[in-house]
Subunit: 240 residues, 2 copies
């Protein structure tokens, strides 16, 4: 039951844009008109427009107005969802798929120098080291290589790893996932990838490296998700 004004304005404008109501002149109404229409302040209107801009629907030009970005059925797939992305779900952008998880390794280890340099965890702290293969429609499509800080995320078990670690962290531990920083790469397939993934003829993998932070600013996770080619898309928006 959110009664936030800017959110209502944002939702209304978004619906109209997607329905093509403003496309005649490729412009949004000027701020003053939106203020009058919604009976709200300039702050609320501008915040709604900023949210539309963050999503890649509009672009504001000082002195001119708020421009609509061209969109077509083909370019819809470039649009950002702004949905929160937890774990491997982020890989299947909006696709509903059957998937199964195969826990191929589960250990609790102390961080040594080498692991510290990779994960940025402090030397000596205990971490869960987990490897899980994700089968999507029967295909071994992704291997997640997780390291969780055991002090910040205690009590993870193989059974939890098979279901959903993120569900456990959020619902049971009440851990808030504040920020995830990601790096995307393409790597030559290592032995682990070749033995665990259905690569077919391909000898490379995509590699999504994620480090995740809780709402106290502490990094609780380092994860590499290696995935097979030709199946996964990642969207990005750059605004000037």
């Amino acid at each position: 039951m959110e009664k936030i004004t800017f959110e209502n304005i944002y939702q209304t404008l978004k619906k109209r844009i997607l329905a093509g109501k403003y496309s005649i002149k490729m412009r949004l109404p000027i701020e003053d008109d939106l203020i009058k229409e919604f009976g709200s302040s300039r702050y609320a209107v501008r915040k709604a427009i900023e949210k539309l801009a963050a999503e890649g629907l509009v672009y504001s030009v000082k002195g001119r107005g708020v421009v609509l970005l061209e969109h077509s059925p083909q370019t819809q797939q470039f649009n950002l969802d702004l949905g929160d992305v937890t774990g491997v779900q982020g890989l299947n952008s909006g696709r509903a798929l059957d998937y199964e998880t195969d826990v191929v390794a589960f250990k609790q280890v102390m961080v040594d120098q080498a692991l510290s340099e990779k994960t940025a965890f402090e030397v000596g702290i205990p971490v869960y080291a987990i490897q899980r293969v994700r089968l999507i429609n029967g295909t071994r499509a992704v291997i997640d290589i997780n390291y969780f800080n055991a002090q910040l995320t205690p009590g993870i078990t193989p059974a939890i790893a098979k279901r959903s670690i993120y569900h456990y962290l959020q619902k049971k531990l009440k851990l808030k996932i504040a920020v995830v920083k990601r790096m995307l790469r393409v790597d030559s397939a290592a032995e682990l990838d070749q033995t665990q993934l259905d690569l077919g003829q391909n000898n490379c993998v995509g590699n999504m490296i994620s480090i995740s932070f809780n709402d106290e600013g502490r990094q609780f996770e380092y994860t590499e998700s290696h995935f097979i080619p030709n199946e996964f898309n990642f969207n990005q928006l750059i605004r000037n």
Copy 2:
């Protein structure tokens, strides 16, 4: 000579954060204290904090305060630059490298049905279809496959393509690049990739598909940048 208050506050806070001045308690001072310190309004302070948050340096928690995200030398490479990314420069995140451009194809064609479905350009409009290989330190590392809407970006020549199309568009045509939407994929190498790129043993490429919009909201470009494995990183930030 920008005299924008929030920008000054942002710069000052960023310097302090990176210098570790606030790391003792993992918190930024509360808004009221920053307002007093900078002698500015709450608006300016909050806008500065929002910019820090967009960069992945801090995270605001209602009722608690503004938390600093842990950062270490290893995780610095995950930080967002917020620099504008034009063309292939975006691939080499912050690396200074010698590179050379080899124009392997340059045509002006009309968009047919197949090309329209790929690029989202309207059937029948003229486009420049350009293929360029980027040699980085002598390695054929990237092939850019560009389609530019010739009505929006007239006058591109092979000579311009060899130097920098973006430089020409921005400086000569005064075209403003407002927004770039990207999709990142990993693809099996096609014949073009195998013949033009130094793939070595690898038989896959990274594929960065970009569609770019000018400040009137019109899509002027569709580009696929195919790049060799193991060399390029792409950063992303997800905020909840």
